[in-house]
């Protein structure tokens, strides 16, 4: 699974990295990311997740080798 992060998340993670662990859903992905850097906990709790240019919710089951976008709260404008 490839992870892309944006904005303030780049203070805690590389902009793009691979996860070798098997991750089935968003809760597991959050836990995995927290294990990498627990200082991102507050920001991760507010993030949305997207695959293939569409947001996914907690019921979504990740596929193997999927590209997952971790989307912090918007701050445009």
């Amino acid at each position: 699974m490839t992870i892309h992060v944006y904005a303030g998340l780049k203070d805690y993670f590389l902009p793009e990295f691979e996860l070798t662990e098997e991750v089935g859903n968003i809760d597991q992905l959050r836990a995995c990311l927290l294990a990498i850097n627990e200082q991102a906990a507050k920001l991760l709790a507010a993030c949305r997740f997207a695959v293939a240019d569409g947001f996914v919710d907690s019921t979504y089951k990740f596929k193997a080798h999927e590209i997952v976008i971790v989307v912090p709260p918007s701050s445009g404008g």
């Binding site: 944006y6 303030g8 240019d53 947001f55 976008i69 918007s74 701050s75 445009g76 404008g77």
Partner: protein, 154 residues
């Protein structure tokens, strides 16, 4: 033949859309005048243009400039959806929104929303709705760079 109402500006008659006019996200200065020129519509008696611009200070701190980034495909898709929904809800003749990414200097436009409708209430209300949703929902982020050398993500 005139175009029907649209949320994607196009060249119409003598009004030529500026480069990138159909894009929701651009990495160069926003052409306010050019976008406004394609914001007019024969069915619209009201055109509202909102320009979100970079302030020189935030919460008492002197701002040097802002740096915006976006997940462009997703942001483009969401902006198009927001415009389409607003256009249907308020029966707009025109709905345009464009957000800039990259470095934006003090006084420059970071985001523009143009709405046109037969009467002003719809154009005003839709414009406010569109900018609020873009700010809250579109995957676009700003990083404030301050004159003291510090930076902070919004």
């Amino acid at each position: 033949m005139r175009s029907s109402s649209s949320f994607r500006p196009v060249a119409e008659g003598s009004r030529v859309a500026p480069d990138g006019a159909g894009k929701g996200v651009v990495d160069r200065p926003i052409d306010l005048v050019g976008l406004l020129a394609v914001g007019h519509h024969p069915a619209a008696g009201a055109v509202v243009l909102f320009s979100g611009e970079v302030r020189e200070s935030n919460l008492g701190r002197a701002v040097a400039y802002l740096q915006y980034e976006a997940h462009v495909p997703l942001a483009e898709k969401m902006i198009a959806e927001i415009l389409s929904e607003a256009k249907a809800k308020w029966r707009l003749s025109v709905a345009i929104a464009q957000h800039r990414i990259g470095r934006v200097e003090i006084g420059e436009t970071a985001v523009v929303v143009i709405t046109a409708s037969p009467h002003r209430n719809e154009a005003y209300n839709a414009n406010r709705h569109i900018i609020d949703r873009i700010k809250q929902e579109a995957p676009i982020w700003k990083c404030e760079y301050y004159e003291d050398g510090m930076k902070e993500w919004g």
